[in-house]
């Protein structure tokens, strides 16, 4: 899933400086699961903001609304009426970067602010603990790395085995960070597949460096949206 982290309160407060009627839109999918931007978090943030602004003698009229999925037009539609009649002077989003952009795009006349920092594609390790596992690099190498991603989990994104800094199976950057290549080595050894990393993996193209889109075979872009 996509994980995000709430921005520091001071930063959020500063972004909203000067706005008095704000709608904070949460999302019920990934950011809800990672305890960042679901219904409960929208409520907490709104309360914090109300209190802080009251103390500043600069009250804010802040509303909250959490939709099922902010990255889906179908669910965004339910905001149309509320936003039209509410005359909000700003929108805030607690969804991931994709959801925030979609919200901003649907209401292009209203400033939209992110209340979270989207940080990646992660797995749930335990309640409240999420570990990034994929940088969506567009050229997956998991096949020869034993299902462990060196692009994400090796601090240098190396493709040809552990660097000289590995330290008792940990990465040179920290003893709390396992060395991805040490783990790749161990896993492949267990599978008797060390040959997979013995040959040179030649330099690759970084396909994630320009905007990407995905069009499945047999489909085409709708006329109305084709650029």
């Amino acid at each position: 899933m996509i994980v995000a982290n709430r921005k520091p309160f001071a930063e959020i407060k500063e972004m909203l400086e000067g706005y008095t009627k704000v709608l904070n839109v949460g999302c019920g999918t990934c950011v809800s699961v990672c305890l960042t931007g679901g219904e409960k978090e929208v409520e907490i943030l709104n309360t914090e903001l109300e209190m802080a602004r009251r103390l500043d003698d600069n009250p804010i009229d802040i509303h909250g609304h959490t939709i099922e999925r902010q990255c889906d037009r179908e669910y965004l539609a339910e905001l149309d009426e509320k936003i039209a009649e509410g005359e909000f002077d700003a929108l805030m989003s607690m969804a991931c970067g994709v959801g925030i952009q979609f919200l901003a795009e649907r209401y292009p006349d209203i400033p939209t602010f992110p209340a979270v920092d989207t940080s990646g594609l992660a797995v749930n390790q335990a309640v409240g603990w999420y570990e990034e596992r994929c940088r969506s690099c567009s050229q997956c190498v998991l096949g020869f790395t034993g299902g462990i991603c060196p692009i994400t989990l090796c601090a240098k994104g190396l493709l040809n085995g552990p660097c000289g800094g590995t330290n008792m199976g940990n990465c040179e950057i920290s003893n709390d960070q396992p060395c991805a290549w040490f783990r790749i080595y161990e896993r492949l050894k267990g599978q008797d597949r060390l040959d997979a990393i013995k040959s040179i993996n030649v330099s690759r193209g970084w396909k994630d460096q320009s905007p990407r889109d995905l069009l499945q075979p047999g489909y085409k872009k709708p006329e109305s949206m084709a650029k």
Binding site: A155, L158, G161, C163, G165, N167, E172, I173
Partner: protein
């Protein structure tokens, strides 16, 4: 300078090694400023005592005078640089540009490294590039040199001649992988290898033994890395703080066993004993002396290690 010939003259280091001599290389860290004099002063201690001098590239991820510029400064002093390049700070375009520039300026050796992670240095928030890794860098330099082609496949009009070096750390886990990684670097095109500082001699003997068995030491020149300990504090720091470094307790005990005034001297004595052993060790073709910020001691170390005079080739 002739621009016609495609045959680039060999570097001094290459001549020493192919001539069957026991190589002795040094190291020089460029300053954190613009003082050319500082580079030249350090170079003075190395001149005549080493075959080639590694010029570090933003070593430990701390900004310093660029490696090619400092290389040029020591060239002017009549020393031969071994231009280090790390993958952390440049993408493949910048790297190839610097390789062409370096070669045009007279640089003939280069050492290809991944580089320490930026998190350690003075700009921990920097974006690490790592566009290609050290093995891919070796292969790229080889392709530029031997095929006259850029990584993209495009022709190079006057290809750079480089004696290609790589690093090896025999001490980082998984140990079995270390020889495999050495083999990969040789396959990629490394002509010579400089190892991480060696303190655990047993483990190094084991490493070289396996490399000999696998025939790797016939395909590449291996220079054993030596750094004399200056103090007990340095030894402790190396043991606990430097990733991938293996300092056995017996080294620390030995330094502790002498008078405080004599610790540095004992450090040099240990280094000299190591060098004596390397001279006899099958598969070791020289020593890379990393006397970190101790360049002025190199003449004494070289003298005591019995590696003088250097073959002036």
């Amino acid at each position: 300078m002739s621009t016609e010939t495609k045959v680039n003259p060999k570097s001094n280091l290459e001549k020493v090694l192919t001539g069957g001599h026991f190589a002795f290389t040094g190291e020089l860290g460029p300053p954190r400023g613009t003082d050319a004099q500082e580079v030249k002063e350090k170079a003075r201690f190395l001149k005549g005592n080493v075959d080639s001098v590694n010029i570090t590239d933003n070593q430990t991820a701390v900004v310093r005078m660029s490696s090619w510029a400092a290389s040029l400064l020591i060239l002017e002093e009549g020393l031969e640089p071994n231009y280090q390049m790390v993958c952390r700070d440049r993408n493949r375009l910048a790297m190839q540009a610097d390789i062409l520039g370096g070669a045009a300026l007279g640089i003939k050796n280069m050492l290809c490294l991944s580089g320490d992670h930026q998190q350690f240095g003075d700009h921990p928030d920097a974006k690490g590039v790592f566009d290609i890794d050290s093995i891919q860098l070796i292969a790229m330099v080889k392709q530029m040199r031997d095929e006259g082609k850029f990584l993209s496949g495009g022709e190079i009009e006057h290809p750079p001649g480089m004696f290609i070096g790589a690093a090896s750390n025999p001490f980082a886990e998984p140990f079995e992988w270390r020889v495999d990684r050495l083999a990969k670097k040789i396959e990629a095109g490394a002509d010579f290898i400089q190892t991480q500082c060696i303190y655990n001699m047993d483990r190094f003997r084991e490493f070289i033994h396996v490399a000999n068995e696998e025939g790797l030491t016939d395909q590449v020149y291996i220079l054993a890395g030596v750094t004399p300990m200056k103090s007990i504090g340095m030894a402790r720091y190396m043991k606990s703080k430097v990733p991938g470094m293996d300092v056995p307790d017996e080294i620390i005990d030995r330094l502790k066993g002498v008078e405080k005034k004599k610790v540095a001297d004992e450090g040099i004595r240990i280094a000299c004993e190591q060098i004596e052993e390397f001279k006899e060790m099958k598969g070791v073709h020289g020593v890379h002396m990393m006397a970190i910020e101790w360049e002025h001691k190199v003449p004494e170390i070289a003298e005591r290690a019995g590696v003088l005079p250097r073959p002036g080739l």
